[in-house]
Chain length 454, copies 2
């Protein structure tokens, strides 16, 4: 089949206003997966996407799970077969007061579209659908077999994902998975991710006295659970930024010299990266660059803490409970479930006799290393180079996209991750946005990648 | 003047149902001083009390302040002159869900009256007004000159109190102040407080990155303000429970052996005291009994902490800010304003370069020692002994009643503190109550004390 790629790209260029209208329609659906009140919105987003895929000629369906539904669609034909993965759910919007405009009323301004999910991941997944649309409009079909899997629980620990992959393995297996949930390097270089950190989430509740107490009546003799929690979590890092949990670094290796040399060549601007968010000193382990801290070193972070009286004024209360959410980013061979046990043991070993700790787990996934020798990587590198006029970089990733690991272990399939987000997209924060250039050139990039893969 | 004390006490006994009706009317007014939405309720409580005092023959008035108003009333005559102090404002009611009945709909059950403020301090201040009522009903007057001062900001740092005392010093000065905001010792012994701890409140906000960040995108290089706050506050105590702020113990002395012997003689049941709230190990400084930790040792407590995502589920956020409320109970000669500076310096000395700390002060008052050789103390001890059939104890107090210090420094007047609350009154907590016995025998106690003082 002759590939009329120039005509396909022209179609994408001409279709931008309509493409932005479609993206806006999807962004208007408040599909916050972690909040049960938005379950109906998650289903609405899945149905919207299934209808969209059907309109592109896919055989598309919304598949129920015990949680939010999956969208599965099949289209195209030919000897090559790829699986595209994205997620339609979004993060919560709090603090709402810091948004310049309502998070689910998309606004186009300053060369970007602003809304919750604009970058993570609705804008990104729509670049792939827009590429499919252009191929179909120009050629009547897709250049290869394409299966699409869109998840609705990525932002809430993906509880239904593994069972769904297991139950539908034969239907979903392809030659390679294409995942669009990452970004341009340094906001300018197209990038293919070759390694990702894993994740482990834990919630800890410390209970001391049976009821809230008055600090005049009990202050001194009564153990304050906030004191216990801050003492324990305040010791999570030593003075050099290393995590103090015994065995935490088991399985952590150094990247090969060649990889480190590649990273060095990226010319990563540490000062600019930190300066963009008002910081200046890499806060991770001493002796590592910010890029190494982000891509090759594990972390422990307190993502939330609460206890006692936090309203206006003052209340001299000794609270009954204090609570924190702690997460770990994992690298190399760190085993999430072993670390979960190690963390809990470490906390419990420091609990005073009068307090008790309860734990709740929030998902865990090991780090991933990609199969960079798969032909899809060179195809994508070439396509991205043509589109962006600069050679695409092989980079690490600080985030966690457990799906790549699941595709490997459950479907025996490698993944190729690329995407067009920028560091200043404020994903998970107020005023999330996606640059119009990312949306436009992202669709063009996928159109080219599909052509090369075919 | 002959003192028909038996007839006066009979009047109190016979008048209990009407007295409880009056107390209930006062408890129905939600005079939460810390919440600006309840400013009108605070004024309503002041007006209710002024009308009540006027009905007892006092020359009573509601006096405006920049905050909630004061009630001032003058009654009786004769050579002796006492000032009675109480407060009509109450603590917030949260968490509302834990109340068995609505906090401002008083319920009499189980030998007690349950409502916010029942014990702290509306029930207590009404014991004095009921004693005045009985004296007046029986004798047509009061046995001595009585000035009444009722404050509406005790639970919110008393911002208007010092200026008001200064402006009205001549009107308010008496031979001694009577303060009814303390309790029975161990729920059974009438007690006169001879020393009280002081208080210092501080609020600290740590800011790291300019905006909330994603822990995958920035985890490692970006400093997390919750990590900073927990590390600093987690070091507030050493392994023996001592506060680590340099100079914190300056001015802290040991009580005289005679005082310690008095305390020893109280037979304080440490196990029962802690067991009542589900604890068993005194959590203060090693080497001190629970009673010493409560009455003669200073404390540092984290009363509230918040930062990051604390809702349902998980959000891998690195927040821009974290915040805590910290208070100190002070003893002996500890200087609150010097300690405020020491605390802030101690925090700032531990701040990483990339974070900044902001502070807000929430009141400060030194510890108080009472003039136990003033004749009012022996009068009260004798009166309480007659009423309760057991010798009244001289005790310490773990709480802070800054008013006693202000009466001393501004009006040059000593204070005598006694009261009838019990440890299980749940002041500042849901289901606050005041025992009917406390209310009844409290009024009888004040009637006797007024008689002895005259």
């Amino acid at each position: 089949m002759t590939q009329p790629i120039a005509a396909i790209l022209d179609r994408i260029d001409a279709g931008q206003p309509a493409a932005l209208d479609r993206l806006s329609a999807l962004l208007r659906i408040p599909s916050i997966s972690t909040d049960p009140a938005h379950a109906g919105d998650c289903r609405a987003a899945a149905e919207w996407l299934a209808a969209e895929l059907a309109s592109l000629g896919f055989d598309a369906s919304v598949r129920d799970t015990p949680g939010h539904p999956m969208v599965v669609a099949h289209g195209g034909d030919g000897p090559r077969h790829v699986l595209f993965y994205g997620h339609y759910d979004v993060q919560p919007v709090d603090p709402l007061a810091l948004w310049d405009t309502p998070p689910f009323e998309p606004v186009i301004a300053g060369g970007a579209i602003r809304a919750r999910g604009a970058s993570d991941d609705k804008g990104q997944l729509m670049t792939f659908l827009e590429a499919c649309r252009a191929w179909r409009d120009e050629t009547g079909s897709l250049p290869c077999r394409v299966t699409v899997l869109l998840e609705g629980e990525e932002e809430s620990g993906s509880p239904s994902l593994v069972p769904f992959l297991k139950e539908n393995a034969a239907e979903l297996r392809a030659e390679i998975a294409l995942i669009c949930d990452t970004g341009l390097h340094d906001g300018r270089l197209p990038a293919i991710v070759t390694q990702l950190r894993g994740m482990l989430g834990e919630e800890i509740t410390v209970t001391g006295p049976e009821m809230d107490l008055h600090s005049g009546q009990y202050g001194g003799p009564a153990m304050n659970p906030i004191r216990v929690l801050t003492r324990i979590l305040g010791g999570l890092h030593d003075g050099t930024g290393r995590v103090t949990i015994p065995g935490f670094y088991d399985g952590v290796g150094a990247p090969p010299d060649a990889v480190l040399a590649d990273w060095e060549a990226l010319g990563f601007q540490e000062e600019a990266f930190l300066g963009a968010v008002g910081l200046s000193v890499p806060a991770g382990e001493e002796g590592y660059s910010a890029l190494e801290q982000l891509w090759s070193r594990p972390t422990a972070e307190i993502n939330g803490i609460e206890g006692g009286y936090t309203g206006a004024g003052f209340k001299t209360v000794l609270p009954s409970r204090a609570r924190a959410k702690v997460s770990f980013r994992l690298v190399g061979g760190q085993d999430p479930e072993r670390l979960r046990v190690a963390f809990r043991d470490w906390v419990l070993s420091q609990m005073p006799g009068d307090c008790r700790a309860e734990f709740a787990g929030h998902g865990g996934a090991p780090a991933s290393a990609m199969a960079v020798d798969h032909p899809a990587f060179e195809a994508a590198r070439a396509a991205l180079g043509e589109e962006w006029g600069i050679e695409a970089a092989f980079v690490g990733g600080g985030g966690s996209i457990p799906i790549a690991g699941h595709f490997q272990t459950i479907l025996g399939m490698d993944s190729m991750l690329t995407g067009f987000a920028r560091d200043d997209d404020r994903i998970h924060s107020p005023n999330e946005k996606y640059d119009l250039e990312s949306f436009h050139k992202g669709a063009r990039s996928w159109a080219r990648i599909l052509g090369k893969l075919a």
